[in-house]
């Protein structure tokens, strides 16, 4: 028994050593910045002016301000619509269709799979600039030239339909992640269940509704959690495309935080907004965990 305990202790120490680098990185780049942001949110720290030289505690002033700030409330609404449109609907729907379609042995399956994965290869900002050439420039934009071919009038797409455009772009970029996760979920469903359902005369739609969706629910919920939280944090892609304009129409809360912290130079206020977003993300996580009935 003493030998077994010594063995377990040694294993425990080895595990700690293996986990130590990850824990240090997590502490340095996630935990500490989050705690520091909470502290900052109660100060008037700024990047310039007196607030940069002598920041001091201002209590809940930043939080009181942000609940009256229409620009902040607008950014929350824009973010909600962005997450709903691109992550919950766009990426999920197209990712699921891709996962189901590519599960079959179709011709050029590998090619289609690669094409779907390709958007993820481009860095966010590069993808943003690429889409600018597609969407900006009025009649000179690539999309304008395409739609003119079909008799549709060109438009300055990023000015006229800004939110829709960024939803489309983010959907394009996120289909691969959805497809990979949902493919993994699909692979856990035994084929025998589908065979039995076919023998019972079930149609493809019935099999999808009664077998695929229910059995994939844990994967779907996990995907929704990851996708929603990561989409809330999208910044580079939309900033490169629109900088949050026109007139705040695409000012996601991440862009709002950047604008407050690094354009208006108010670090304390920006931190307060970031803390609220952190709380929203945490609430989302708790909600999904409860929905998944998973013990953590």
């Amino acid at each position: 028994m003493a030998g077994k305990n010594a063995h377990e202790k040694r294993l425990g120490r080895q595990l700690l050593i293996i986990l130590l680098p990850s824990m240090v990185l997590l502490l340095a780049f996630v935990i500490y910045p989050a705690i520091y942001s909470v502290y900052l949110s109660f100060t008037n720290e700024a990047l310039t002016g007196v607030g940069a030289m002598n920041p001091h505690f201002v209590g809940t002033r930043n939080y009181e301000r942000l609940f009256h700030d229409t620009a902040f409330l607008n950014s929350l609404m824009v973010t909600f619509l962005f997450v709903l449109g691109s992550a919950v609907i766009g990426q999920f729907a197209l990712g699921l269709v891709s996962a189901i379609a590519l599960k079959r042995q179709i011709r050029f399956r590998q090619v289609f799979s690669s094409l779907i994965l390709l958007p993820n290869a481009a860095p966010e900002v590069v993808a943003g600039f690429m889409w600018i050439s597609m969407l900006a420039g009025g009649e000179h934009a690539t999309l304008s030239r395409i739609v003119q071919f079909f008799g549709i009038s060109p438009a300055d797409w990023l000015q006229t339909f800004p939110l829709s455009m960024i939803i489309i772009v983010n959907t394009w970029r996120g289909i691969a992640t959805a497809m990979i996760l949902l493919t993994a979920g699909l692979s856990t469903i035994p084929n025998e269940i589908y065979e039995a359902a076919r023998m019972d005369g079930a149609s493809p739609l019935q099999m999808f509704r009664r077998i695929t969706l229910p059995l994939m629910m844990p994967t779907i919920l996990l995907y929704m959690l990851i996708s929603a939280v990561s989409t809330i944090a999208v910044f580079g892609l939309v900033y490169a495309l629109t900088r949050g304009g026109p007139g705040g129409a695409t000012e996601l809360v991440s862009i709002y935080i950047y604008n407050q912290s690094f354009t208006a130079f108010q670090l304390g206020y920006g931190a307060a907004v970031a803390v609220i977003v952190l709380l929203i993300s945490l609430a989302l996580g708790v909600g999904y965990v409860k929905a998944m009935k998973v013990e953590i």
């Binding site: 008037n44 310039t48 607030g51 940069a52 000015q159 900088r243 304009g245 007139g247």
Partner: protein
């Protein structure tokens, strides 16, 4: 084997440390925009030779807003270059209050070029206690620029407008007779400091309350003058006299200034002397042929009369308070205020040298568009700056943004400005 490797490493390190004093000291200078970097490169070799120093030019993002963001972030972190520019006069007071800038009053006043500086340049940078933190090597001289050729073609008077009403009436006439927009005043959040520096300050300087900074350091934002200035914006926007859609997008100056004005779709705009070279000159994106002949200037009329030209420090050179060698950095900054440097920047960027003797410099005299502007510098007016002006600038951007989106009127815009500054700096800063 390990011992031998260790000994070899120690010897190598010792040699490097021993000979390192033989390498020249490096001074890092931050600069942005290719035109400015090219201008700086013309004088760097002379400075390096004179002081036996290596100068490293650190290239920063091009748009001014992004340049200032990166610079302030690095100043806050303590790893900014030794020398940099403060983009506008309105940025300087806050950078001083933050402790980022090394005082240079003794050095600047003892410099042989100090006597050549325009009086207005000296006033712009000399603080109440006589200290100086930036060298006013270049000035921005801002007026109203108009398409003389197109106005004459349409039979519209090119006489100097006498009051705001005159200016608005002229803009309406332009819209009515030509269909083009009659006047642009930069506005909105995405224009950054331009809404204040290239728009609002023109107006406030011509009102009954021409200064925003009170003697006690508080900010006068509740005055009738501020409301009237925002009301002028409202009149322009509500009468569809200025293009508003581009002002809501990123880089809002591109379409109105680089496309609409050269194409004759916008006939009058505020601008600075740089427009003759950087915005519409032969090497610009959309050059206007014979620009000095077809583009004329008006001074800014006062609300009820009078006229003025806005003068401000343009990218004043400053030394990082945490520079590794501030004395050397200050010497180099004074070199950057030389005639050669001033002319190099003027020819590429279009701003005006802060020194009177530039008028006699043969190289500057070739810049005919700027020569006449230099002559009028001493008549310029300026807004006294104070700590908190960054918040005022952002507040003006937000107030004018709400006007552009037709969400409010002049009184509402003033409230947005006042509320923003109070929330950011405290209620006691606004009187």
């Amino acid at each position: 084997m390990l011992k031998r490797t260790l000994h070899a490493s120690i010897c190598a390190i010792s040699v490097v440390v021993a000979i390192s004093p033989a390498y020249a000291e490096t001074i890092r200078i931050a600069e942005h925009r290719q035109a400015r970097i090219d201008a700086l490169k013309t004088v760097v070799p002379d400075i390096e030779k004179k002081y036996g120093v290596t100068i490293e030019i650190v290239e920063y993002p091009a748009p001014e807003k992004d340049y200032l963001t990166k610079l302030l972030t690095e100043l806050g972190a303590g790893n900014a270059p030794d020398i940099f520019t403060a983009p506008r006069g309105q940025d300087v007071s806050d950078m001083v209050a933050a402790g980022y800038l090394a005082p240079m009053g003794t050095e600047v006043k003892g410099w042989d070029g100090y006597g050549q500086l325009f009086d207005v340049a000296k006033k712009l940078v000399t603080e109440k206690d006589g200290e100086i933190h930036v060298l006013p090597a270049m000035l921005s001289v801002q007026e109203i620029y108009y398409r003389k050729d197109l106005l004459e073609k349409a039979g519209i008077s090119t006489e100097q407008p006498k009051t705001w009403k005159d200016l608005l009436d002229r803009a309406k006439e332009i819209k009515q007779k030509t269909g083009a927009y009659g006047l642009l005043f930069p506005a909105g959040i995405t224009w950054g400091g331009g809404a204040f520096g290239e728009g609002f300050q023109y107006l406030i300087a011509g009102t009954s309350t021409p200064q925003l900074a009170n003697e006690d350091g508080t900010l006068n934002l509740t005055s009738q003058g501020v409301k009237d200035a925002l009301g002028f914006y409202a009149d322009l926007i509500n009468n569809d006299l200025m293009p508003t859609q581009p002002l809501l997008g990123p880089e809002p100056w591109v379409i109105p200034k680089y496309e609409m004005f050269p194409a004759g779709k916008l006939l009058v705009t505020t601008c600075g002397s740089w427009c003759y070279i950087y915005d519409w000159g032969s090497e610009s994106k959309n050059p206007i042929p014979d620009v000095t002949k077809v583009v004329g200037t008006w001074t800014m009329p006062g609300e009820e009369g009078g006229e003025h030209v806005m003068v401000d420090v343009e990218s004043g050179w400053a030394v990082n308070a945490r520079s590794t060698d501030p004395d050397l950095a200050k010497k180099i900054v004074l070199e950057l205020g030389s005639l050669k440097a001033d002319t190099a920047y003027a020819s590429r960027v279009g701003n005006i040298p802060g020194r009177k003797d530039a008028a006699n410099d043969p190289d500057f005299q070739k810049l005919t568009a700027l020569v006449q502007v230099l002559a009028g510098v001493e008549k310029g007016t300026f807004l006294r700056s104070a700590a908190g002006f960054s918040a005022v600038s952002e507040g003006v951007a937000r107030a004018t943004d709400a006007l552009v989106r037709k969400q409010t009127d002049a009184a509402g815009a003033q409230k947005i400005l006042v509320d923003y500054v109070k929330e950011t700096l405290g209620d006691e800063t606004v009187k």
